[in-house]
Symmetry: C2
Subunit: 342 residues, 2 copies
C-alpha cells in the first residue's frame, strides 16, 4: 500500500479521481488541516496556522507519506523535516528550482516532478492576448477610455509579425503553436540546439542562447518563458534592449528576475521598447510605489496568467499518469533536474 | 480611356499600382484637393475646406470620372450632384447601407462595391483579443493596476468555450476561423440558412435569425458583425439579454445601433452580462458624459478595430481586381445590394 498525502487544497471530485486510479494506494486528504484557497487552483491559500492538535495530526500524516501531491506551503521547513519517508513529490508549479533549494527541500532526497505543461494552454493564450493588445494599440484605447476621449486611430495586424520565444519547454512550445495559429512567424532560443529540427519545437528558426541577440534583432514581440536559474538571471539588460527593433514589445511570463530592472524601466521610459506585458514583476507583490504601475505602455498582471480554473483538473491528470508510472516502476514525466534547476 | 478619380488620401505607391494595372485607364489623384489623413487608412481626414479655385478643379475632375475610388467625404452632397458620369464607386467601408441612402448617393445610379473582406483579418484579430481579455479577467487586472494592487486571481481558458457570431459575411466568417484556431467552438446566425453546410461558413452550427435566442443561450461570447439595416436595428435588447448565459460577454464590431442602449446599460450594471467590448457606440463620437466610459466591465475602442495599417494596401488589391473585371465586363466583387442594404 502506497500512502499518498494531498498537501494543498484540491476539489473533492479530483481527490476521488486519484483514489479511483489504483487499488494499491491510500489517499489522505484532510482539508481542515490545510489553508483555504483564495481563488481556483490557489496552492498557497489564505493565511493559516495549525492548532497544536492539528499540527500533531499533520505531522503524523507527513511521516507516513511515500508520495506527496504538492508540498505544505504553510510550513516548508516543517515539511522538509518531517516528510521522512517521502520518495516522490508532484509539485504544483513548473518553475521550482529556486524554491527547492531555498527551502532545503533537496535534502529530502525525494524525486520532484514539476507541473510543466499544466500551465501551457492558459499561458499560451495569455501571450496571444498580450501580442494582440499591442497590435491593436490597446494601451492607447485604455488611456482614451480613462480620459473619455473618442479619437480614432489605426491598428496593425498581428498576422505576419515575428515572435521570439526564449525558452522552448512545454510552455514555450505551446506559446509558439498558438502564435502560429494566428499567422505569426515564431523563432525561438534554447540552451542547446544542435541537431534539433526547429519544426519539432513549433518554431521557424532556432537560436542557441549564445546567439540570443541575433534572434532579438528580428522580433516584433519577445516572450520570456525561461526558468529562473543562475544562468538566466538578468539575461535581458541594456545590451539586449539595444539590439531589439524599435517598437518591440516585451512579454514576461517567466520570472521577473530574468530582466534587469533599471534597464527595463529606461527602455520603457525612452520608448526604446514600445511597451511590455508583465505577468511577473521584479519583486512580488510589486510595491505600490513602484513606477511600473503608472506607465501607459505597461500592462501588469499579478502572476495570474498561468492560474486557470482548469489547472487542478490538469494537475490531477498529470499526477494520475505519473502515479501509474510510479507504481509500475516506469520513468516519471517532468522529473526535476537539480543540476539544471528545471 | 476610363477616367478614375481617387477621392480620399492614398499612398502614392498604391496609386502607382492602380496606374500600372491597365493601359486603358487615366488615374487622377490630386492630394492637395483632399484632406490629410489623421492615421493610416483614414478616409475622412482632418477638417478641410477647398478654396474657390480648388473647388472648381475638384468639380471638373468629378464631372469627368467614370470610376471613383471612395467618395468625397468632405462634401457628399456635392459628390452626389457633380459625379454625373460615374458608373462604379469602390467604397472604403464594408457597411455603407445607411450612408448611401442618407446622403442621396443612390440617386447617382452608379454601382457601389463595398470594402467587405478588407477589414476581415484585423477585425477577427480584434475579436480574438476581446474574448481573451475576458477569459483572462483583464478587467480585474486593469482595475488592480489603476489602484496599484497586486492580488492574485484565477483566469479561465478560452479554448473550449463557445462563440456566437451574428452575421456571417466575409468578416463573420474570418472571425469564426480565427476563433476556431484558438480552440473555440463557433456557432453563427444569418438571415437564411436553408441548405447551407455550416462548415462552409467556418461554424459548427448554424441558426436562422428567427432562432437567434436558441443560439444566444449557448454562447459564452456573442459577437455582433451584422450590418445596420432596418431589420437589424435594435435586434439585441432586453429579451435577448434575458436568454444569454449569466456571465456572457458581448463584443460589438458591427454598429452601435444593433443594440438597444438602455437594456445594454442595465445588463452591464446588473452583471447580467459579464462585460462588453465595444468598438462601436450608441452614438459616435461617444459623448464624454456617457456612463459607458467608466464601467469597469466595459472595454471601449473608438471605432478603430477595422482600421489596420495594411488597409489601404488591401483596398487597393480589391480595387485592382475589380477594375480588371470592370474593364472586361465581368461581374464585380462585393456589389452593394440597395434592397438588402449590404
Amino acid at each position: 500500500m502506497t500512502d499518498i498525502l494531498i498537501c494543498s487544497y484540491l476539489e473533492t471530485d479530483l481527490v476521488d479521481r486519484i483514489r479511483a486510479a489504483s487499488n494499491d494506494v491510500r489517499v489522505h486528504y484532510e482539508p481542515e488541516l490545510l489553508p483555504k484557497p483564495r481563488y481556483a487552483a490557489d496552492h498557497i491559500g489564505e493565511p493559516f496556522q495549525r492548532t497544536e492538535s492539528q499540527r500533531r495530526a499533520w505531522r503524523e500524516l507527513l511521516g507516513r507519506a511515500e508520495v506527496c501531491f504538492d508540498v505544505d506551503h504553510t510550513d516548508l521547513e516543517g515539511f522538509a523535516s518531517h516528510a521522512s519517508r517521502v520518495r516522490w513529490i508532484q509539485a504544483s508549479s513548473a518553475g521550482i528550482g529556486q524554491f527547492v533549494v531555498r527551502h532545503g527541500l533537496d535534502r529530502l532526497g525525494a524525486t520532484f516532478t514539476t507541473a510543466a505543461g499544466v500551465h501551457a494552454v492558459p499561458l499560451a493564450e495569455f501571450v496571444a492576448w498580450s501580442m494582440l493588445a499591442f497590435a491593436k494599440d490597446y494601451p492607447r484605447a485604455r488611456a482614451q477610455q480613462r480620459e473619455h476621449v473618442w479619437r480614432r486611430f489605426h491598428t496593425s495586424d498581428l498576422a505576419g509579425s515575428t515572435l521570439a520565444v526564449i525558452g522552448l519547454g512545454s510552455i514555450g512550445r505551446q506559446v509558439a503553436a498558438t502564435a502560429r495559429a494566428l499567422g505569426v512567424r515564431v523563432i525561438g532560443s534554447k540552451r542547446t540546439v544542435d541537431g534539433i529540427d526547429p519544426g519539432t519545437l513549433n518554431v521557424d528558426a532556432l537560436f542557441a542562447t549564445r546567439d540570443l541577440k541575433a534572434m532579438l534583432a528580428q522580433a516584433d514581440y519577445v516572450c520570456l518563458v525561461a526558468p529562473h536559474t543562475a544562468e538566466t538571471e538578468g539575461m535581458i539588460g541594456t545590451n539586449e534592449f539595444a539590439v531589439m527593433k524599435p517598437g518591440a514589445v516585451l512579454i514576461n511570463i517567466g520570472r521577473g528576475a530574468l530582466v534587469q530592472e533599471v534597464p527595463l524601466l529606461a527602455a520603457l521610459r525612452g520608448q526604446r521598447l514600445r511597451g511590455a506585458v508583465l505577468d511577473v514583476a521584479p519583486s512580488e507583490p510589486l510595491p505600490s510605489e513602484h513606477p511600473l504601475w503608472d506607465m501607459d505602455n505597461v500592462i501588469l498582471f499579478p502572476h495570474s496568467a498561468s492560474t486557470s480554473s482548469r489547472e487542478n483538473e490538469r494537475l490531477t491528470e498529470l499526477f494520475i499518469d505519473n502515479l501509474g508510472r510510479y507504481l509500475s516502476g516506469r520513468p516519471l514525466r517532468n522529473v526535476f533536474d537539480a543540476a539544471r534547476q528545471y
